[in-house]
């Protein structure tokens, strides 16, 4: 039986939860190793050996050490094509290209404004850091424009890359979850018919519900 893979980082981290969602979709056994960021464990020399940027997550299996959540997700899908959700990263080159396209769109267009909003609205208050209202306004506007593109796209297909749930949709779960549940910005998504429908479907997946459970347990 294969040794469980290792994921380093707190489940509350959006990037860590991205990897956890992928592992659960693919039914790959894993061991979650906590990293106490408030104690600076992510900047320890030992941790920097596996993640030189001092960020979470880091990942190890018997072959390799990896970082960057989206590359970890792709590796898991490539290494275990026949486990769990077989179509998560596409089963042919054209499907995969479409998934890559929307994964890049997530990383380049959705992630920057949504990450700022998650930090400003969900984390800053808890960390007693003063919110930057200008940044909030600017990034709400940017995110709204991105969601206009998504609204049109999701009127043409069930999910972003096509008619099946894929890594491209999964990659959006962590930030959107916080925006909808901890930042009071659910309306950005639910006020748009197709985006609202899509969010309802993807956030109801068993894999994501399990990740949310893990986040609650480790608060």
């Amino acid at each position: 039986m294969a040794t469980p893979v290792k994921v380093y980082g707190p489940p509350l981290s959006t990037a860590v939860s991205r990897v956890l969602a992928c592992l659960l979709e693919k039914d790959v056994q894993f061991q979650l190793i906590p990293i106490n960021m408030s104690k600076g464990e992510h900047k320890n020399p030992d941790f920097l050996k596996i993640q030189p940027f001092g960020q979470v997550p880091a990942f190890q299996d018997e072959s390799i050490s990896l970082f960057e959540s989206r590359s970890i997700c792709r590796y898991i899908c490539e290494k275990y094509p026949d486990k769990g959700n077989k179509g998560l990263y596409g089963t042919n080159p054209l499907a995969k290209a479409s998934i890559d396209q929307w994964l890049e769109a997530e990383g380049q267009s959705f992630n920057p404004p949504s990450s700022v909003l998650v930090f400003q609205l969900a984390f800053a208050p808890r960390m007693k850091i003063k919110q930057d209202q200008t940044a909030i306004n600017q990034n709400e506007e940017k995110l709204s424009k991105v969601l206009d593109v998504y609204e049109k796209r999701l009127g043409e297909s069930q999910f972003l890359a096509g008619d099946d749930f894929s890594l491209a949709d999964l990659s959006h779960l962590p930030n959107t979850h916080y925006l909808a549940n901890a930042a009071g910005r659910g309306e950005l998504f639910t006020s748009k018919k197709n985006v609202g429908r899509w969010w309802g479907e993807i956030s109801n997946r068993d894999s994501w519900k399990k990740v949310v459970e893990m986040q609650k347990q480790r608060t």
Partner: protein, 215 residues
């Protein structure tokens, strides 16, 4: 045979990223200029190719793609046997290592580098004032990223391994721009990074991309 088309602008860093890949792979393509100054990238027609209204967009017969890094990934796989080998085929491990450094470029290098390109290279051209605070902040961020690169490039000739791959290629457009600004010092002051920059910017395929700007 399906015609390959690239829609974009020779001065757009993302378009250049794709062009570099196509030249390395020796893939024949038709370049369809998009007039950014005239707002062509926001026209209904163009939005059907890239719904975000950005360049580049790619067509191969009926197959359409956007996002430069997704397109280069597709091209490198589809034409694996042509031109330069830009991937690390052979194992999930080597492909994952390549993917890791591609993600580093996209999420660590590009955010800081592209802000500096905008402040130091493009704003002057448009007669806009450079924001010194933004420059200072992003030079500091880029410096930290390049410290990691300096360590990595002491271990291997290129980022992912000892051969040139997509992970290195993706850096070319922003690096080329920054070499013509005050941010050049960030590369020059790090010997392994400096050698890597000199090497990748001297590649013939990259010179072809630069030549397109002069037309």
């Amino acid at each position: 045979m399906a015609v390959t088309k690239v829609h974009g602008s020779p001065v757009s860093t993302a378009t250049q990223r794709l062009l570099a890949c196509l030249y390395e792979k020796k893939v024949e393509f038709e370049f369809v200029p998009v007039n950014l100054g005239a707002g062509e990238h926001k026209s209904e027609n163009y939005l059907s190719l890239n719904p975000f209204g950005q360049v580049p967009a790619f067509e191969e017969g009926d197959f359409k793609l956007f996002e430069s890094r997704a397109i280069t990934h597709y091209v490198a796989h589809e034409y694996a046997d042509k031109g330069t080998q830009l991937l690390l085929p052979g194992s999930n491990k080597s492909m994952a290592t390549l993917q890791l450094w591609k993600e580093v470029e996209a999420h660590q290098f590009d955010p800081a580098a592209s802000k500096l390109v905008w402040e130091l290279a493009f704003k002057p051209i448009f007669g806009m004032a450079t924001d010194a605070a933004v420059v200072e902040e992003n030079e500091a961020k880029l410096a930290k990223v390049l410290d990691v690169y300096e360590t990595q490039l002491a271990k291997s000739k290129y980022l992912a391994c000892d051969s040139f791959t997509l992970a290195d290629l993706h850096h070319l457009p922003n690096i080329q721009c920054l070499l013509m600004t005050s941010a050049k010092k960030l590369f020059d002051s790090r010997p392994h990074v400096s050698a890597w920059v000199a090497d990748i910017t001297a590649r013939p395929a990259w010179s072809k991309v630069l030549a397109m700007q002069k037309q």
